[in-house]
């Protein structure tokens, strides 16, 4: 028989989150992170690298703000909207960031890439014409072990140019 305390901890809530424009629901306890919930919902593009906010592999946009989903509780995302790398675009309608990352060879093992692109998206939303220093700071929460970042920087710079030329809201 569970104590009152154990009952409270076991309490699960129905959480509803807009993920890439689609309503997703899950019944989860308080200790469930947004990262875990998204992956359980099938969003494997949101990667787990450290579970403590050191690496940025799990980065997603939460109401347009880039966050580590491993440090975001699912209950806190309830009623909010999440964008993942797959929500940015795909092979038939690539986002300029995706086109640039592909053209510039910005992915090697690719594991940091989804989180990195989301941080890049947030950066360009904030600063449409970023300097190299702005780009470095924007990606300061994303580790990459393979590329040396050089081509990631150049891809973001190129995508920023494309977006400015398009005049589109990023």
């Amino acid at each position: 028989m569970m104590t009152d305390k154990e009952n409270e901890m076991a309490t699960e809530k129905l959480v509803s989150v807009q993920v890439n424009g689609e309503t997703c629901k899950a019944t989860v306890p308080a200790c469930r992170t947004l990262l875990e919930m998204l992956r359980e919902l099938g969003h494997a593009e949101v990667k787990c690298g450290c579970e403590k906010g050191d690496c940025g592999a799990c980065a997603v946009l939460l109401d347009g703000k880039v966050v580590d989903s491993c440090l975001t509780l699912a209950w806190h995302a309830d009623g909010h909207s999440v964008t993942t790398a797959q929500g940015l675009g795909g092979p038939n309608n690539p986002h300029p960031l995706q086109t640039a990352f592909i053209e510039h060879g910005s992915a090697q093992c690719g594991y940091c890439t989804p989180g990195m692109i989301m941080a890049a998206k947030a950066l360009l939303d904030d600063i449409p014409d970023p300097s190299l220093e702005d780009i470095k700071r924007g990606l300061s929460g994303n580790l990459c072990r393979c590329t040396g970042y050089t081509r990631i920087f150049s891809a973001i710079h190129a995508a920023a140019q494309t977006l400015r030329q398009q005049g589109a809201a990023p």
């Binding site: 787990c48 450290c50 090697q108 690719g110 594991y111 580790l143 040396g148």
Partner: protein, 775 residues
């Protein structure tokens, strides 16, 4: 971003359409769109989740391991300890595919039985309905440890009376090189320079932790889908768990970074055991803190160089002692020591040479493979010594290097004749020149320029009799398939095969489909290690594609009534070179072949050159197929008050033989520049009495975006390599000189060499204060 310079290159006899170009890699789109699948993304119905209990003690007897409470927890399907395992118990961590003699003590228990030898040694495995239940089960396992004396330093481990880690003594491996007459060499020297260099543990820090999914299928075949660099591990898995080899299928997914850390088995056997015991699919993604314990970090080395030189910088004698910390189990330590021994002299010709190397067992983390595999540590000492020699002689260090560079046709450390191009000088000269003008010092910062060369092997040790297979075929509609069990660990291993095949068959590479990494269905290609994947799989693929081309052109030639030499392939067509309108599509050609009963596919095997080992007394013999040469130059700014070192420019110049995908090649140079910077300045696993103090990415500091200098890649192509189109292996070579170039740059900035990596601000301050006190 790069400059291609090939002075004196042998005339390219092929008009390369795709090879050497910076094309989009075939794996880039799925990785960028987020659709690429990694092992931890795989799910199956009724899947269970695994968790592993790692030892909290570095050296202890296991008096009691009680899993009763864990087993009783609702949702737990099995809990395994050593007593539940088949009698074979041990996991072979020797290199797969080896036919040479077994080195000492390469067997490591799958799970600790009576004793733990390192903090992190696996003791128990759990499979449960959820991760949270599995974690809870771990906390219910009761263990009584009885600490016993351990040893935590190789020097202590080799001293008489040291606690023995396993076997009879703590010597895991040792090598000797004796060449020429060392005493005569020293007698001829005008000056003798002696220094000791040390390097630290480095953690691979791949972004994707170990992950795998295992299940037993309807044919009683154990399936494992894993983040691994080696598909051939299925044999070792089978042996470890008592299954025949033909009942284990290992598939390698895209690997989210390996760097050698996923080169020996990590979690595969654990999952195999849980899958067999539970009869359910079982998945594990190691939490990062346990990932640090689940694979071996880079060997710390202590290296002493005693060099005799003439007053104009010629090396007359070189005596080297190398000691590495193997940790609690041998794993690949003997091989890493061999690589370090062979790499110890760098790209220089030394005729009077004595090397003694030893790898000692301790109760520290078992060290293992990491990009460079011993050679890069050895290179730090060699290149630092070059600087010290130059300083002692009042010469420019490049001049000293030039006096001593090995040349094509010379014999190296182990008496192996170097047959490919040695462009160390050109590479170093270009890298240094590209640093440009030195900015002025400020009141508190000193600028330094440094360079380092290297000699790094590619291809595996010859007596492993290495080979690699690949299958290339053309479908009935003219589309092309490659099958190879090569593992793709992020350097474009699978894409390169598409590019090579596309080149040979005249098909755009993004239209070639490559099936890779499946031990049951794709021809075995060997490991993605030792900078061999392009060399071995590239050659095998080129052979297979070339045979298919020959078959297709033969058919077409007969059809057109011309000689084969008059035809070429391009844009998915076969055409007459002098009359391109005379052509047929690949589709049409293939149908002709089918009608004639000609094979439209080929399975090829490429065999690397072999040898029978080295002389145990002299270390002489042919060890590797070939070597890559190049250099790295760094510009640093040192804050002389705080000791902080900032890398401003980082330039790699390498003779890659022939770039297959220029973008991928440059990417390797760029990535290695930052990884080497981490090794030089900020990365350090700290163990105290075997206990890891730096067990997450908050304490273990890899370079971030804010740490990135201006990085450039200069690619030279001698076309003299043994790989496809004259390519050389590059994954490790480009990494070899980076840390040394930064260490040398710091020495240039502050006027005194720091012999211990990483070069922390504290160490800089210490030597500056000592320098000040001395003056």
């Amino acid at each position: 971003m790069s400059k291609i310079a090939s002075p004196g290159a042998s005339a390219a006899n092929v008009n390369l359409r795709q090879i050497g170009k910076p094309l989009v890699r075939t794996d880039s789109p799925p990785k960028v769109y987020g659709t690429a699948v990694y092992a931890g993304d795989l799910t199956m119905p009724d899947m269970l989740y695994a968790a592993v209990l790692h030892s909290e003690r570095a050296s202890a007897l296991l008096r009691r391991v009680d899993t009763a409470r864990a087993k009783e927890l609702a949702g737990v399907h099995c809990v395994l300890t050593a007593k539940d395992l088949p009698a074979s118990q041990g996991v072979m961590t020797d290199m797969p595919g080896q036919t040479g003699g077994m080195t000492k003590n390469t067997k490591q228990p799958i799970l600790a039985k009576d004793r733990v030898r390192f903090c992190g040694e696996p003791i128990a495995l759990v499979a449960a309905e959820s991760v949270s239940i599995a974690e809870q089960a771990l906390s219910l396992i009761e263990i009584d440890y009885e600490d016993i004396a351990g040893v935590y330093d190789p020097v202590d481990a080799l001293a008489p009376g040291a606690p023995i880690v396993f076997g009879d003594d703590n010597i895991v491996a040792s090598y000797k090189v004796r060449k020429g007459d060392i005493d005569k060499g020293f007698a001829e020297a005008d000056l003798i320079v002696e220094n000791t260099f040390t390097t630290q543990y480095q953690e691979q820090a791949f972004l994707e932790p170990e992950a795998a999914l295992a299940w037993v299928d309807e044919h009683e075949v154990l399936n494992i889908r894993s983040s691994t660099q080696v598909v051939e591990h299925y044999r070792a898995v089978a042996d470890a768990i008592g299954l025949p080899h033909n009942r284990v299928r290992l598939r390698a997914e895209f690997v989210g970074g390996g760097f050698g850390g996923k080169e020996v088995m990590t979690i595969e056997v654990w999952l195999a055991l849980l899958a067999l015991a539970s009869r359910r699919p079982v998945r594990l993604v190691q939490p990062r803190e346990r990932s640090f314990l689940s694979h071996g970090p880079r060997h710390p080395f202590t290296m002493t160089h005693r060099t005799g030189v003439t007053s104009d910088g010629k090396i007359t004698a070189l005596q080297i002692k190398l000691t590495s910390d193997a940790g609690a189990y041998a794993k690949l330590s003997p091989y890493i020591l061999l690589y370090a021994t062979v790499g110890a002299t760098g790209p220089y010709r030394v005729d009077n040479l004595q090397i003694d190397s030893v790898s000692a067992a301790t109760n520290n983390l078992p060290t293992c493979a990491f990009r460079g595999f011993g050679t890069m540590q050895a290179n730090l000492a060699c290149e630092g010594q070059m600087e010290e020699i130059a300083k002692a002689l009042g010469m420019d260090s490049m001049e000293v290097r030039r006096r001593n560079f090995i040349h094509t046709g010379d014999a190296n450390v182990t008496g192996q004749i170097i047959r490919s191009a040695v462009w160390s000088d050109q590479c170093a000269t270009q890298a240094l020149a590209a640093l440009g003008e030195r900015p002025a010092d400020t009141q508190t910062t000193r600028i330094g320029h440094g360079v380092a060369c290297y000699q790094q092997s590619y291809g595996r040790i010859r007596w492993m009799k290495d080979s690699s297979e690949a299958w290339v075929g053309v479908e009935m509609d003219g589309t092309v398939i490659v099958r190879s069990a090569v593992t793709d660990i992020g350097a474009g291993q699978s894409s390169a095969l598409a590019q090579i095949t596309g080149e040979i068959l005249g098909v755009p590479m993004d239209q070639v489909v490559v099936y890779f990494g499946d031990g049951a269905v794709t021809p075995l290609a060997g490991t993605s290690t030792a900078s061999r994947a392009l060399y071995m799989s590239g050659n095998a693929t080129k052979m297979a594609a070339s045979q298919v081309r020959e078959n297709l052109l033969g058919c077409a030639a007969r059809h057109f009534g011309v000689e084969v030499e008059e035809l070429d392939m391009g844009d998915s067509q076969v055409f007459a070179i002098d009359d391109p309108q005379r052509s047929m599509t690949l589709n049409e050609c293939v149908k002709l072949c089918a009608a004639e009963g000609i094979h439209r596919h080929n399975l090829a095997i490429f065999k690397a050159p072999t040898s029978e080992g080295i002389d145990p007394e002299t270390g002489q013999g042919e060890v590797f197929p070939d070597f890559t040469y190049g250099a790295h130059a760094a510009q640093v700014a040192v804050d002389i008050e705080t000791g902080e070192v900032r890398v401003l420019q980082s330039i790699g110049a390498h003779d890659v033989g022939q770039a297959i995908n220029m973008r991928a090649v440059e990417g390797q140079v760029e990535g290695s520049a930052l990884m080497g910077q981490g090794f030089a300045l900020s990365e350090e696993l700290i163990l105290k009495q075997g206990q890891l103090q730096t067990g997450s990415f908050s304490e273990y500091l890899v370079p971030t975006s804010e740490d990135v200098p201006e990085i450039k890649a200069i690619i030279l192509e001698s076309r003299s390599g043994l790989g496809p189109f004259g390519a050389k292996g590059i994954g490790e070579p480009v990494y070899a000189p980076v840390a040394a170039s930064i260490a040398n740059a710091v020495a240039d900035a502050i006027g005194v060499h720091i012999f211990e990596l990483p070069i922390t601000p504290e160490k800089v301050v210490k030597v500056l204060r000592e320098q000040e006190a001395a003056s």
